[in-house]
Amino acid sequence: MNKMEMALHELAEMDELAAQRSPVHQLHPAAKLIATVIYILVVVSFHKYDLGGLIPMVLWPVLLFQVSGIPVHTCFYKLRIVLPLVLAVGLFNPLLDRAPLLYLGTIPVSGGFLSMLTLMLKGTLCLMASFLLMATTSIDHLCGALRKLHVPGLLVTLLLLTYRYVGVLTEELAIMTDAYHLRAPGQKGIHVSAWGSFLGQLLLRSMDRAQELYASMLLRGYHEHFHYAPLRPFRGKDAVYLAVCAAVFVLLRLLPVTQMLGMLVV
């Protein structure tokens, strides 16, 4: 497998994860989508020094990983490219904000250090929540849910087609790199002299394919809006899931849970 095929493989793996069966997978996509959005909003809303308050929010993704049977390492493996970027965001805070904010025993902890940790945790939690949504809901169901929530059809179709186009592009790239290497044995990567024509060909080929795929959709009755994979009706258990999630998130946000636990222990 060349690198491109590997990328394709990973993309397909997300689809496969989403096709598994677990209580989380079986929840209504709209319930999962709204719960995830609330979760992210709540996580982001924590104050920059409120690391203690944020920590209990870790419980939700951990619980979801357990119940959905999706291995945590898969999540971190798939996020390996974006995660460092997210973690890098707060890296300069310790330099900018050096005033000691609290003392761990006698060691002073600066506000910048604390806000860096909070920012890193926020980023990681948001990524994990998004990953869990994608890993337990197929893109079609997700788009179906977006439509149910009255997100404009054009936007949703754009999202879906972009997702598909990435697949087409990667597939073409995989075929072309293979064809190249079969006739350029022992060469590492693609020689600079071939980049121009290679890229041009890639674009033409993937556009051709995208066009033909689109034609194939039109020929099968597609007209501006997708009939996404039919969603099952929104049931009581979905409402319960959503209500419980929302209530717990808001409680965790409003109550100083960590302090209360601390007091219980002391």
Binding site: E16, R164, E212, L213, A215, S216, M217, L219, G221, Y222
Partner: protein
């Protein structure tokens, strides 16, 4: 019914691909469109479907002239199996691809399910139902692509090389399926044996023109005619033994 009257076509490059083509395919007829590579077979199909604009001449599908305003009605009637199955399947799994068209055309969920299952069984593809489209073999994809079009239950079916890439067993299934389909059919293929056993009539394209149009049994037995247009008799009609490999 599909009618082409005096159709000419060239791609942007300007070289004429089709010149003054006229023919009618009557309801229920199964017509084979044959010709050498590059003769313009796929182009004819794309023109009928309105995928390419018909700038000269006129094409009618059931008396509806194919044009921008009528595309929706025309395409409702036609099912098209593309020459390249990779470009036919755009949903993640075979099943999702199969339900795409019926749902778009307002067929109920239950009816769609029934159709899909019946078709998969008929084509012997039950095992493929929930497989991922990019993880099935070329021939499997071809069978699945045919299934997605049959699930549409169109009034007319256009097939571009339906048996290419199929093993003899699957080829036989496709041939039998085509023979049983009551719809009007237009089939292009280099598999002349398949054309011989499915089509009553053959149109031979050559150099963008119709070189012959008549009963399949006559045209496909006409060795001189076929050879004059870079083709050969169907294998089943070739008496000469196949030259064997010799050391």
């Amino acid at each position: 019914m599909i009618t082409c009257s005096n159709v000419s076509f060239s791609y942007e490059t300007g070289r004429p691909v089709l010149q003054d083509l006229s023919f009618t395919i009557r309801d229920g007829e199964c017509v084979g469109l044959i010709g050498a590579n590059g003769a313009g077979k796929s182009t004819v199909m794309k023109l009928i479907l309105g995928l390419l604009p018909c700038t000269q001449g006129e094409i009618r599908v059931d008396e509806i002239p194919v044009g921008k305003e009528t595309l929706k009605d025309v395409r409702r009637k036609l099912g098209f199996v593309l020459q390249n199955s990779d470009n036919q399947m755009f949903m993640p799994t075979v099943y999702e691809d199969m339900i795409f068209a019926p749902l778009n055309y307002g067929v109920s969920k239950e009816e769609t399910e029934k159709r899909v299952d019946a078709l998969l069984e008929k084509l012997g593809l039950q095992e493929l139902k929930h497989r991922h489209n990019h993880k099935i073999s070329g021939g499997e994809k071809r069978m699945a692509a045919i299934a997605t079009i049959l699930a549409m239950e169109p009034e007319m079916i256009l097939m571009d090389e339906p048996t290419a890439a199929l093993d003899p067993y699957n080829r036989r299934i496709v041939i039998n399926t085509i023979r049983e389909l009551p719809q009007t059919k237009l089939i292009t293929s280099h598999d002349l044996d398949m054309i011989l056993s499915t089509c009553s009539r053959v149109i031979l394209l050559s150099g963008g023109k119709i070189a012959a149009d008549g009963p399949a049994q006559e045209i496909l037995r006409d060795k001189e005619l076929l050879e004059a247009h870079r083709m050969e008799l169907p294998l089943c009609l070739q008496n000469a033994a196949v030259p064997l490999y010799q050391t």
